[in-house]
Symmetry: C2
C-alpha cells in the first residue's frame, strides 16, 4: 500500500518548511502554547490538506514556480484545520486524538480554547493579507461551514430521521468544504480560468466526502490501535454515519438500540455487530468509491503533470485505506 506521504514527494520540501513555520508561529508566544504546538504539530498529522493545496498550486501553474501566496494559503489551510480539531475535541469531549491525549486533556480546556482561537485569528489575518477578495470569501465560508457542521452534529445526535443527503451535507461542512474551497483558492491564486477553478473545487469536494465516508467506515472496521481511539466511537456518541444509516434499512432492532441511546449493557456491542453484519459497510464503500471517482473525473481537463498524477493517486489512496 502506498502511504499518503510518498504521494506528496513533489511538495515535500514545501511541507517540511510549512511544519516548521507553524510550530514556530504558535510556539513563540508562550511556554504553554509552545508545548501545545509541539503536541499538535508532531502528533503524526499527515498534512493532507496543505499538501493538496500545494499540489493544486503546482498543477495549475503549468510548470512555473508556485508563489509565496500559495505557500501562505497552504499554511492557512493547516491552521484552520488544526484550530477546528482542537475546538472539536473540547466540544465533543474526546479524550484522545490520533492515539495521544487531545490538547484539552493534556493541558486544559482553557489552553485548548486559547490555542484554537490563536490559530483561527492568525489564519484570518494571513488570509486578509493575501489581499484577494475571492480567496478571502472562499476560506471564510469554510470557517462558517465548520461551525455549521458542529451545530448539525449536535442537532442530529441519535436522530434516526437523518438521511444520506443530510449526512453528506454534514460531511461537506465538517471535512469537504475546507478541501474544496482551498483547492479552488489555490487555482485562483494561479490565475486559473473560472472553469478550471470550479473543477478543482469539485475535485476537493468529492475527495473530502470520500475521505470522510472512509473515516466513518473505519470506525466500524478498524482496530482501536490503528484508529488511535476506541472503535465504534461515532456510534457511541450518537453520530449516525453512512454504514449505520444503510444498516438501519435492514436491521429494525438497531433502531431500538439507538433509540435508547445504548443505555443497557452490551447495547453498543450488539449495535456494532448488527452494522458489521449488514450491507451497510459495503454500501458505504460504494458511496466513497463513487465520490473518489468523481474527484478524479474533475481533473480530466488539467494538463498532465507529476502533481496532477499525485492528486489522482490521492483519491485512490483514500479508498485503499479500507483494505
Amino acid at each position: 500500500m502506498t502511504s499518503a506521504t510518498s504521494l506528496f514527494s513533489p511538495v515535500e520540501a514545501d511541507l517540511r518548511l510549512l511544519t516548521e513555520n507553524l510550530q514556530n508561529l504558535i510556539g513563540a508566544r508562550h511556554p504553554i502554547l509552545y508545548a501545545a504546538a509541539e503536541h499538535l504539530f508532531s502528533a503524526g498529522g499527515k498534512r493532507i490538506r496543505p499538501a493538496i493545496v500545494l499540489l493544486v498550486a503546482r498543477a495549475t501553474m503549468h510548470g512555473q514556480e508556485i508563489t509565496q501566496r500559495h505557500r501562505r494559503l497552504a499554511e492557512i489551510t493547516e491552521m484552520i484545520h488544526t484550530a477546528s480539531l482542537v475546538h472539536d475535541d473540547v466540544i465533543d469531549e474526546s479524550a484522545t486524538r490520533r492515539g495521544i491525549p487531545a490538547v484539552h486533556s493534556r493541558f486544559s480546556n482553557q489552553v485548548a480554547v486559547l490555542a484554537g482561537d490563536f490559530l483561527f485569528a492568525q489564519s484570518s489575518w494571513y488570509l486578509a493579507n493575501l489581499e484577494n477578495i475571492e480567496v478571502i470569501k472562499l476560506l471564510s465560508e469554510v470557517i462558517k461551514d465548520f461551525a455549521e457542521g458542529e451545530i448539525q452534529q449536535g442537532l442530529f445526535r441519535f436522530d434516526m430521521g437523518i438521511t444520506i443527503e443530510s449526512y453528506l451535507e454534514k460531511s461537506y461542512y465538517k471535512t469537504a468544504s475546507l478541501i474544496a474551497n482551498s483547492s479552488k483558492a489555490a487555482a485562483i491564486l494561479s490565475d486559473a480560468s473560472e472553469v478550471e477553478a470550479q473543477n478543482l473545487y469539485h475535485y476537493g469536494r468529492n475527495l473530502g466526502l470520500a475521505f470522510q465516508i472512509v473515516d466513518d467506515i473505519l470506525d466500524f472496521t478498524g482496530s482501536t490501535e490503528s484508529l488511535g481511539k476506541p472503535a465504534g466511537s461515532d456510534l457511541r456518541s450518537g453520530n449516525l454515519t453512512a454504514p449505520v444509516l444503510y444498516a438501519l434499512e435492514e436491521k429494525p432492532y438497531l433502531e431500538d438500540l439507538i433509540d435508547r441511546e445504548f443505555e443497557q449493557e452490551d447495547d453498543l456491542e450488539q449495535a456494532l455487530a448488527l452494522v458489521r453484519d449488514s450491507q451497510g459497510i459495503q454500501r458505504a464503500r460504494e458511496l466513497a468509491s463513487h465520490h473518489a471517482k468523481s474527484a478524479i473525473e474533475h481533473l480530466a481537463d488539467l494538463p498532465m503533470s507529476e502533481s496532477r498524477q499525485a492528486l489522482i493517486k490521492l483519491a485512490d489512496y483514500v479508498l485503499s485505506r479500507l483494505y
Copy 2:
C-alpha cells in the same frame, strides 16, 4: 449622571434592529444556541461598540444616510466582542458575566466554545462580504489582537515586572483595538480621507484605553452588586492593573502579598486595602482622564453634528462612571 444609552439616541433605531438581527442570527440554528443567544444578547449589554461604529458612520457621512455596510460593520463589531467575551470566560474560568452566570457555567464549556466559534465564523463571513480589503484587514487585526491579549494576560499573571506601558499594550489588545479599528473601518466605509480615518482610529484607541482603565479602577472602588462580579477579582487572579502598578511604588508590603499569590488568609483583603490607601487609584484616574481627553482631541477636525457630540459625550461618560 447621563447613562450610556441616552447618548446613543441618534442611532437608537439602528441599535434596536441590530440586537434583533443578532439574536435571530445565532438563535435560529439550534435550541441550545437559541438559549445561549437569549442569554448573551439580553444580559444588559450596552451595545457601546456598535453604537460607536454607527455614530462614527453618521459623523463621517456628513449628513447623508449611513449605508447597509455600516450597519453590517456594527453587527460584526458586536459579534466579535461577544465571541471574545464567551471564550474569555472559558479561558479565565469566570463564573459570572454582568452579574449573571457566564455561558459556560449556565450551559457548558462545549456550548460556550461552539457559540463563540459560531459568532467568530459568522463575523469573518460577513466581513469578507463587505468586499473591502482595508476593512477586512483592520478587523482581522482585531481578532488577532484579542488572541494576543489573552496570551499576554496569561503570561503576565502575578508578574510584578510588568510596566504601565505593557499594561497599556495589553489593554489595547483586549479592549481598545476593536474600538479603534472598527471606528477607522466605519470612516473608510464613508469614504473618509486617510487623515480623518486615522483620527477616528486614535479616537477609538484612546477611548478604549480610558474605558479599560476605568473598568480596572472600578474593580477596586465598585461594589460586587454594581460590578456584577466580586470586587477585587482582577487582583485575585493575578491580573495586575494600573492602580496596583502605581500602588506598588509606594507600598513595598504589597509586593510580598502578590509574590505569594495571596495564599495566606486575609492576604487579598490586605492587598486591596493597601491599593485603596495608596495614590494608585488617583493616578489611574489621571491616566484614564488623559486618554479620554486625547480621544476628544482627535475629533477636532470632524464637522459639528449630533453624532460628533455624542462621541464627545461618550468620552466624558466613561470617566463619569468613576464618580
